[in-house]
Symmetry: C2
Subunit: 263 residues, 2 copies
């Protein structure tokens, strides 16, 4: 057990934060000034996404050649390794091309299929969220934790996907906001700003870093059905089997009760 812990600590989270900031600076040079094109699923990809992912893969390969990598733009590599990095060079490319501020560089590390370290950097806010397997979670140098409200007020909010108006009926009595980045959704829950997040479609690279941060901040994720999320099944790049909600354990069933899928 001790030996395993030492192997986790081979990864220097301060170095991962440097990679995220480097990626953010690279992407920011393209912000408001970017050529964009559609991927097969009609979503946007930009030169910035491609360059940042290439840079991150180079950093990881140079430092941890024995680790696998899966990323949004360049696909799934050797996922049979003990450690697999799951990276999204720009989570929220739609926001990025729209000139909106909430996009981020998301770098997660999975160990045997489970999230064990996460770093998410939001360049426009210069906010870095991070946590390792031991916790706690941080925004920059400030410790963060999820909100454990007893009652829900009209000013409380949850984040939702930008197609929620077509996919879900939501009776949440507070506010809903689409931040346009799943990694940012999880950060705002982890810091105790949003009460919860409703995430519709996602791949592991959208979730990996945020799940480590959310867990270290005291939060959990459940499927709308109530099922646990089996991240091991997402390692091959497939999408979530059902929508999920992230929140404090005391709040998650309440939030689930406010959301139903449209037929």
């Amino acid at each position: 057990m001790r030996a395993e812990e030492e192997r986790v600590s081979d990864v220097d989270i301060a170095e991962v934060q440097e990679w995220a900031r480097e990626g953010g600076a690279l992407a920011r040079r393209y912000f408001n000034n970017v050529a964009r094109q559609r991927k097969a699923d009609r979503s946007w990809v930009t030169q910035a996404d491609v360059e940042v992912e290439t840079m991150l893969r180079e950093r990881i390969a140079a430092r941890h050649p024995e680790h696998g990598v899966m990323g949004e733009e360049q696909g799934v590599g050797a996922i049979d390794r003990e450690y697999v990095w799951s990276i999204d060079p720009i989570d929220g490319t739609g926001a990025f091309v729209a000139g909106l501020p909430l996009w981020c560089v998301s770098i997660g590390l999975m160990r045997r299929g489970k999230p064990c370290l996460g770093v998410i950097y939001l360049p426009i806010l210069d906010d870095c969220y991070w946590a390792d397997a031991e916790g706690p979670a941080y925004r920059n140098d400030e410790q963060i934790s999820v909100l454990t409200a007893q009652t829900i007020d009209g000013n409380d909010w949850m984040s939702v996907s930008s197609y929620a108006h077509r996919s879900f009926t939501i009776s949440f009595p507070g506010k809903t906001r689409a931040l346009s980045s799943i990694a940012a959704d999880l950060c705002y829950v982890a810091r105790g700003s949003a009460l919860g997040a409703l995430i519709g479609r996602a791949n592991l690279w959208d979730l990996a870093a945020g799940m480590s941060i959310l867990r270290a901040a005291g939060g959990v994720i459940r499927g709308l059905s109530g099922a646990d999320l089996e991240t091991t099944e997402l390692l091959d790049g497939r999408k979530l089997p059902e929508p999920i909600i992230a929140a404090a354990p005391s709040m998650i069933d309440t939030l689930r009760g406010y959301v139903s899928r449209k037929p």
Copy 2:
């Protein structure tokens, strides 16, 4: 007519931009570090809102003592003047207290009840949107105009209010995002990023600056019923008589058709 134009030009829009940037810098010092309290309507107000409005009122009174001022935090002044400033020191206070980036300083000028000049500054993005009565509209030093799409794609988006899930049924085939600031909503339509904005509840201070910018960018505003918005009726501080939509003239009826009020 010539004399009247000269009187409009008494206002130096570069100076108004300086006020907006000064207000933004003042507010930013409180961002992520602010005491908040509830107003009578349960919405948030912070020390930052109060200080920025006081500063803006001082700048306006010193430069244009003959003008009236109405503002979100300190109410409605002499609205019988030819020129009335309509200011929101922090539009998007909910976003501000949540640590979200899209809040702004909004400074609009009304002439005989009609918007004639607007400056909106978003400190986190360091974006300044502005226009006067002659147009065109600008983001920083770049001219902007509304989007005139022929068809609506799944990646097109419109901004909606953060309580839209409770107030409206929306069948828009693209994405919806709640930016949490009405002034920002209008800027993202004016710059051709959002196809439109659905605004539920608002006062003139939320709209005045954005209406000048939107109009100069080629956009229009209509009530959900199709009625024009009579800004003169909002000078006394009352709220909108009905929800409104902002968009290009060619798009506005299409967007109205996607939105209905819930009973």
